[in-house]
């Protein structure tokens, strides 16, 4: 049982950890070297998706998280975090693609995901290109504005007694025997704690190393394109069936499969590319051109629309493409909560609840540590605690 916890990282995952831990009555301090949501949180689209996940540990967490986003919306105000249950529409471009998509959806349905086959995709998304063979509607898919959500959860945590220190960098853990006693910052301050949460996202590998619990978290660069503001033209999160294959892939080369959706501001967001180029932030016009061309094939009206900007960020992934959530067997008091790749926004509330459950040593808000053992860091290590 923990009473004092330091959360490293004020992105959406760290904010959710702080929100749940403070709600459970724990003494919480959040530190981040920068501002709220300044890393990957502000560089994505705000996906809360079940549609792209195959049955398994990630989908189990995503289903819980979908319910907890709803609860967070009720508590924080759905409007203030722009939480919108708009639904997802996955479209196939070929008959073979549609057969594969239907098989995938069937397996998801048996795992508890609501799926609705759509024969005429233009009935529910009128500006799609003609001639698409069909798709699957996922009514549970939702959208949230990630930075507003992170800030709102952090604000609620502070209202429950949590502290937030920006501009503070975690340097090392301090301990006595096999017990954690605090976290030392680069500036030399000591934050007393009996647990520390590594919620540093793409930088979770480096933070883990400083905490004496190194794990492999790698960056995968993703671009998002933004159009001029328009009247409502795209109603769902619409993406091509190829997206699922790309998310699960480890290919080093450029992969693009477009995801198109409207925002409340009227702009349309076009994702999502994946490249393994380290922490390289360079603009890549080839990626922009490819994403734009794919989006125009799905929605031909986009050919006449301006792009006003693009942004990019690093999706943090573990070698097996599952997030790592739970206590590190090698370092007492260290709990990892990172490596969510492109699903961190969607998975944040359940991650926060699961971390809190680990801290409490019992279930919290539907998160039962015994039900999510597939996400534990143990999977990377042999029983002796050495790297596999």
């Amino acid at each position: 049982m923990t009473s004092k916890v330091v959360v490293v990282g004020a992105g959406v995952v760290g904010a959710a950890c702080a929100f749940h831990a403070a709600s459970a009555g724990l003494d919480v301090t959040v530190v981040d070297r920068g501002a709220v949501g300044a890393g990957t949180t502000s560089r994505g689209e705000g996906n809360v998706l079940l549609s792209d996940k195959e049955p398994g540990p990630e989908l189990d967490l995503a289903r819980l998280s979908r319910a907890l986003w709803e609860e967070a919306g009720e508590e924080l105000g759905s409007d203030s975090i722009e939480l919108e249950a708009k639904g997802g529409l996955v479209v196939a471009s070929t008959a073979e693609g549609l057969t594969a998509l239907r098989g995938f959806a069937l397996r998801q349905a048996t795992a508890g995901v609501r799926t609705e086959p759509v024969e005429h995709v233009r009935d529910i998304e009128p500006h799609l290109a003609p001639g698409l063979p069909g798709g699957i509607h996922y009514p549970q898919d939702a959208q949230v504005q990630p930075v507003l959500a992170a800030a709102a959860m952090l604000h609620a945590a502070v209202a429950r007694g949590a502290r937030f220190h920006t501009g503070e960098i975690a340097a090392a853990v301090m301990g006595r025997g096999d017990r954690l006693t605090g976290v030392r910052t680069v500036a030399g301050d000591v934050l007393p704690a009996d647990a520390v949460v590594n919620a540093a996202g793409t930088w979770g590998g480096e933070v883990g190393r400083r905490l004496g619990a190194s794990i492999e978290v790698l960056p995968r660069r993703g671009f998002v394109l933004v159009t001029e503001p328009l009247p409502r033209m795209v109603r769902h999160k619409v993406y091509s069936a190829d997206y699922v294959a790309n998310v699960a892939s480890s290919d080093a080369g450029l992969e693009t499969s477009c995801v198109v959706e409207g925002t409340r501001g009227g702009t349309i967001l076009i994702g999502a590319s994946r490249e393994r180029v380290g922490f390289d932030t360079t603009m890549n016009p080839a990626v922009v051109a490819r994403l734009a061309a794919q989006a125009c094939r799905l929605f031909p009206f986009l050919r006449g629309i301006h792009l006003i900007r693009t942004y990019r960020g690093f999706r943090p992934y573990c070698p097996d493409h599952l997030p790592v959530i739970g206590p590190d067997p090698r370092a007492p008091g260290v709990i990892h909560a990172c490596g969510h790749e492109g699903a961190g926004i969607g998975l944040a509330p359940a991650t926060g609840a699961l971390v809190t459950a680990h801290l409490l040593g019992r279930s919290w808000r539907g998160a039962d540590p015994a039900a999510h053992t597939g996400l534990l860091p143990d999977r990377f290590f042999t029983s002796g605690g050495t790297s596999k």
Binding site: E228, P229, R264, G265
Partner: protein, 84 residues
């Protein structure tokens, strides 16, 4: 002074002014609204970056009023006049 037509009404401008400058000079500072909450939008950045000042010009939508020089007889339509 020259004149353009905005939402069916004449608007005088000085040669060299952009459409946005002509509107602001006439005391009109907003001509769009946000979709949620219908908050007013007009010139924000004034240099073509923010896309807040969009109008249709001679039937072509999505034009940035802050970048387009006003021309004698051009037809400008604002979203306020076309929105539901």
């Amino acid at each position: 002074m020259s004149e353009l037509i905005i939402d069916g009404k004449p608007l005088a401008f000085v040669e060299g002014q952009t459409v946005a400058a002509a509107l602001v000079a006439a005391g009109r500072v907003s001509w769009r609204t946000t979709r949620v909450g219908h908050r007013p939008r007009g010139v924000f950045c004034g240099i073509g970056v923010c896309f807040d000042c969009l109008v249709a010009i001679d039937g072509v939508g999505g034009q940035r009023a802050c970048l387009i020089p006003a021309r004698e007889g051009m037809t400008v339509t604002t979203e306020e006049s076309t929105d539901e």
